[in-house]
């Protein structure tokens, strides 16, 4: 699938609308589901998905194949746009004045590609269940709630340093669980 995605992305970089349509048809449900889960607003979710696919349309040439799958790249754009949209609804949150490039760290390293390709909802949910309640809470508030680490500290009453640790250790623990499950 990723080979087909990459071929589509090359065609998108060449300005081929049919390739964008192809990519949209393949990932529309997942993209919209992420946007809807985060924004909890059907209209806003539509705007987020439109914004994300247009971002992919305009920046297809910047995708770096060696760093991970097109699916991950695309869905991380959706996630970031959805978080931005949620934060715009919170007037106290400062947003960047200009859009910054996607962090390279959000794309998958090759070593992880095989694991991620075999992931499904049940596997990931099981891995989440292995975390402590406070680790899982911190990760979910960040990923689905769009909260910053400071806001999570405020919400949960935990010191900022503790929240940082919960997020880092929670992700590490999930990775190990998922890697073990794939072998």
């Amino acid at each position: 699938m990723d080979e087909a995605d990459r071929a589509a992305l090359i065609r998108i970089a060449d300005g081929e609308l049919a390739a964008l349509e192809e990519l949209y048809d393949r990932y529309k449900t997942m993209a919209y589901s992420i946007a809807y889960r985060i924004t909890n607003d059907a209209t806003l979710a539509e705007d987020v998905v439109q914004d994300a696919f247009l971002g992919a349309w305009r920046n297809a040439a910047r995708y770096v194949a060696g760093r991970g799958s097109v699916k991950t790249w695309l869905l991380s754009i959706v996630h970031h746009r959805a978080i931005d949209a949620v934060r715009r609804r919170r007037p106290t949150t400062e947003l960047p004045e200009v859009e910054t490039a996607m962090p390279a760290a959000l794309t998958l390293p090759d070593v992880w590609a095989e694991v991620s390709a075999s992931l499904d909802a049940e596997t990931v949910r099981s891995a989440l269940e292995t975390l402590s309640d406070v680790q899982r809470e911190a990760l979910e508030l960040a990923y689905f709630g769009g909260l910053t680490q400071g806001e999570i500290a405020e919400r949960t009453g935990a010191p900022l340093g503790t929240v940082k640790s919960r997020m880092r250790l929670g992700l590490l623990s999930m990775r190990r669980t998922l890697e073990m499950g794939s072998t």
């Binding site: 609308l17 964008l20 349509e21 949209y24 529309k28 449900t29 997942m30 919209y32 589901s33 992420i34 809807y36 889960r37 979710a45 539509e46 998905v49 439109q50 696919f53 247009l54 349309w57 305009r58 991950t72 869905l75 991380s76 978080i83 400062e94 947003l95 960047p96 910054t100 962090p103 390279a104 760290a105 959000l106 794309t107 998958l108 390293p109 992880w112 694991v115 991620s116 992931l119 909802a121 990931v124 949910r125 990760l139 960040a142 990923y143 769009g146 909260l147 910053t148 680490q149 400071g150 340093g161 940082k164 640790s165 919960r166 250790l169 929670g170 992700l171 590490l172 990775r175 998922l178």
Partner: protein
């Protein structure tokens, strides 16, 4: 203040401590800028970023699936088409050459022979030339289809009249996902006059729907029309934004009253100042 004016320096340990929040997008703008600045210059590759970043992508798998509304695809494709059109225009402008060869100058003069206000400028003359070149009037004449040729000539003349008004915009519509091409003018009051040729004839309840796409990328329906065997059509509508850069587009719809475009776009063009 953007928050980027005072990027603080971080140690590698501080970056590692915030790696989880960074890949989750859970940093405020100052901390995120500080980490980006550190990663750009640090000799340490900070492998923890890639290590944790991959896991974040897995969260997407846990989301309950919800189907997007059908109209969303039309919105995205129309916005991408408009973006593509804008890119093409920008490229042409940057190169400083006309997008279409200016052939048959004497024919242009004849095409624009109807009395017009004296505000006609070079762009109008170019529009007339393009009308001849793109609408293929001479081809129609050669096909001995005089009634079709006259019909299109009248339609083009109406567009040129509108284009000659102060503050008007003109757009050359070229075939995209179909065969139609033509010319349109939008006057300062937001009234559009469009002349099209070489459209496939409609049948049954099918109509060609005209759309305007503004800066927000959302296509707004202007109304529909049917096309006979001759393939030519004229169309008028009002209430358009009279701002340079709007995109005019045509789609073929199964019936009148479409609220979202059915792809592919048959023909489209960007409106720009007539001079």
């Amino acid at each position: 203040m953007s928050g980027l004016d005072s990027v603080r320096e971080l140690t590698c340990d501080e970056v590692r401590e915030m790696a989880g929040a960074f890949v989750l997008g859970a940093l405020d703008i100052q901390d995120e800028a500080a980490i980006r600045a550190h990663l750009e210059t640090c000799a340490d590759p900070h492998a923890e970023m890639a290590e944790l970043g991959g896991v974040v992508a897995a969260f997407a798998e846990t989301v309950p699936m919800v189907e997007p509304p059908e109209r969303l695809k039309g919105r995205i494709m129309a916005a991408a088409a408009a973006d593509l059109e804008t890119r093409s225009e920008a490229t042409a402008d940057a190169e400083g050459v006309p997008t279409t060869p200016l052939a048959f100058p004497s024919a242009a003069e004849r095409a624009a022979r109807r009395p017009r206000p004296s505000t006609g400028t070079w762009i109008l003359r170019i529009a007339a030339v393009l009308a001849i070149a793109l609408l293929g009037g001479w081809n129609l004449l050669l096909q001995n289809d005089l009634s079709v040729a006259r019909s299109y000539e009248q339609n083009v003349a109406a567009v040129l009249d509108a284009a000659a008004q102060p503050g008007s915009l003109t757009a050359i519509l070229t075939a995209d996902g179909g065969t139609g091409s033509g010319l349109a003018a939008v006057d300062a009051e937001g009234n559009v006059t469009m002349a099209m040729r070489n459209l496939a004839p409609t049948s049954g309840t099918a109509v060609y729907e005209a759309w305007v796409i503004g800066g927000d990328g959302v296509p707004v329906p202007l109304g529909g029309f049917q096309v006979g065997q001759g393939g030519t059509a004229s169309f008028r509508a009002s209430g358009l934004p009279s701002s340079s850069g709007i995109v005019l587009a045509l789609t073929l719809e199964p019936g009148p009253g479409a609220t979202t475009p059915t792809l592919p776009i048959i023909s489209k063009g960007v409106a720009s100042a007539a001079g």
